[in-house]
Symmetry: C2
Subunit: 282 residues, 2 copies
């Protein structure tokens, strides 16, 4: 039976430490979140982020716009936040309405306040092996989780299923920096099973039931990034947990694995940007 | 016996077409090359680039500085070239002396004149699936070569050996955009042979003799990016050509494969930047 990669436990540990650290600061780190429209999932995500930030002593501000907001209004607001020294981190909750040029809006964030590592400059830093100001939250959270359990990536074969800008691509670049051999699979991949079976570490970020026990290596490490509600309304991930956990050495559950680590990373990134802007050593 | 991926032939074809196109332009496209120091290999590369540009009607300028040049002088010159409308493309010949912050100098090039796709903005575009102004020369040349021989990448397993910013990493992102499954191997990879044997397309960019016939798939496509002089002074690539070419379906030779395609891409990129800056359709 696999060891559970307990993201909830590690999140609590990291956030306790962070809370203590923030208590030492006279001026508190601050996070500004921009939310456009009334997407129910986005509202839940933003509320969770705000609640977590508040509980740590991070000053959080949520700026809400109607779906009809113009691109110019968003760009002006971001400019204002860029210029406001009391704001350390800026997050645009996605998705944005279709009439907004998402990339243009994201890229208007000052790279030093880009808490998600979404701007072109920070993506370019990541792609060329330079250090971005902070790393993208989900891949960063996954590496923190693997580190906590002493799982080294050097020389390991890491197979990533999914090639999104949010997870797959930055994750690949980050494990490459850790000296892993990396394979990126996706919807066009043929013989997926033949590849996943060779994975020392398998990271699945697809959002559908996909990974069965005949697709994994014995004693492999399984990281499940998928999260969705199945037909019965139950929250679940990409991996058939019951069977796969019998064969793997480590497995992250859904919920309670990568999800909590993503929000922990967001909080750590906010504080890291605060420290960079205030030249405190970490 | 494998079909030879003839980069010299395709280069000639592409450059003939480009020369004809340039003849139609009243004002000629122009390329500025900055060369620092007296590295013999760099001088040969720069001379070849200038000679090729001149033969096509591209106006080329080589600006030479001594090894002792200050970073400020380079940054000022690049600023001047950025602001000069008669310059369409800027290339910094690498390596630069150690006292120069290479990344800072490269990144001071205006992204719209960044003929090598080295600036953080263009790398960020590449990493996030947005179109950079132009693609990096060597990976672009490889894709042109594969296209010429009708080799599709969709759903294929492309294995890249080498993870440099010049070839390995951008190549991986570019074949991913073509819907290939991609694996990046490097010096820390264990069981390299087990991975390369699964490659529908194997791209080796290492610079030492590495790829033997027992490391490749039957009827695979082999692209050799390595180029160096062996102990006998003979120019050669990463691949044991004689044995590997008996087993593969396609193979690029060294010399005469990827090398000529890299310089062809540089010329195409210069003209593409000229067209973007002058809003001509391609």
């Amino acid at each position: 039976m696999a060891v559970i990669l307990d993201g909830k436990k590690l999140r609590n540990k990291l956030l306790d430490k962070l809370k203590f650290e923030i208590e030492q600061y006279g001026v508190k780190p601050s996070l500004a979140v921009i939310l456009v429209g009334d997407d129910a999932a986005s509202q839940i995500y933003v509320n969770n982020k705000k609640k977590t930030a508040d509980s740590l002593g991070i000053k959080s501000t949520v700026i809400i716009y109607p779906t009809t907001v113009s691109e110019m209004v968003l760009l002006d607001k971001i400019q204002e936040l860029n210029n406001d020294d009391s704001v350390n981190a800026i997050l645009i909750q996605l998705p944005l309405p279709e009439h907004i040029d998402k990339q243009k809006v994201i890229n208007s964030i000052s790279p030093i306040k880009d808490v998600d590592c979404f701007t072109l400059e920070n993506c370019g830093r990541l792609a060329t092996g330079l250090k971005p100001y902070v790393y993208p939250c989900t891949p960063k959270g996954i590496l923190l989780l693997l580190d906590e359990y002493g799982i080294s990536l050097d020389g390991k074969h890491v197979v990533i299923v999914g090639r999104s800008n949010l997870v797959g691509k930055p994750m690949a670049l980050m494990v490459l920096n850790r000296n892993a051999t990396v394979t990126i699979c996706h919807s066009h991949t043929k013989n997926l099973k033949e590849i996943t079976k060779t994975a020392d570490v398998l990271i699945s970020a697809v959002g559908e039931v996909l990974i069965e026990d005949d697709m994994i290596k014995n004693e492999g490490v399984i990281v499940d990034v998928g999260i969705f509600r199945d037909a019965d309304g139950k929250i679940r991930g990409d991996v058939q947990f019951d069977s796969v956990s019998k064969k793997s050495a480590y497995i992250s559950p859904v919920p309670g694995g990568v999800g909590p680590m993503t929000i922990a990373s967001l909080m750590i990134n906010t504080v890291d940007l605060y420290k960079i802007q205030n030249k405190k050593s970490s």
